[in-house]
Subunit: 99 residues, 2 copies
């Protein structure tokens, strides 16, 4: 959960810099969901959702887990990590030092 390099911070910010991805985070808040379910809920195509989930995962905001449901079907669940970041001029200045 602790970001060490500037690159990691960048991935975080890039992940957050999109309205659909914010919506995904909000939708995942409190309840994990599987991909198709989430695509219906957010109202976008599944391939598009995959792209967004990848970016969110890269930013360390969500984590995916492929499971086999009772009836033998593969289902991939996504849930939020419990991230907690503090943004101030200082934290950002420190992040850039490691450039």
């Amino acid at each position: 959960m602790m970001k060490t390099s500037e690159q990691e911070w960048l991935f975080l910010f890039e992940a957050l810099a999109n309205p659909i991805r914010l919506k995904i985070i909000a939708s995942l808040h409190g309840k994990r969901k599987y991909v198709s379910e989430l695509a219906r809920e957010v109202g976008i195509s599944r391939p598009l959702l995959y792209m967004h989930l990848q970016r969110l995962e890269k930013g360390g905001l969500v984590i995916g887990n492929l499971e086999l449901s009772e009836d033998g079907k593969a289902v991939k669940y996504f849930e939020l990590t419990d991230f907690n970041f503090h943004l101030t001029p200082q934290t950002i200045a420190e992040a850039v030092k490691g450039l």
Copy 2:
């Protein structure tokens, strides 16, 4: 300093989602600078810097101030706002509610 709408949060994240802009923030940390000075320091062209400063300003991270120096020349100074944001699943979920 308090973000109320999702749009404002988005502007903030978009402002942060770029390595040059992080560098600008770091460079402005502790000391305000004028545009040409900052361009030299960060190592980019002035027109490009303008674009980045606009985005940073839109995100509420910096503020510009056009002044007349003693010798009558117009000089535009930029400085950091003292922002302070807290990022958790909850704060983001709340931001999206106002959609």
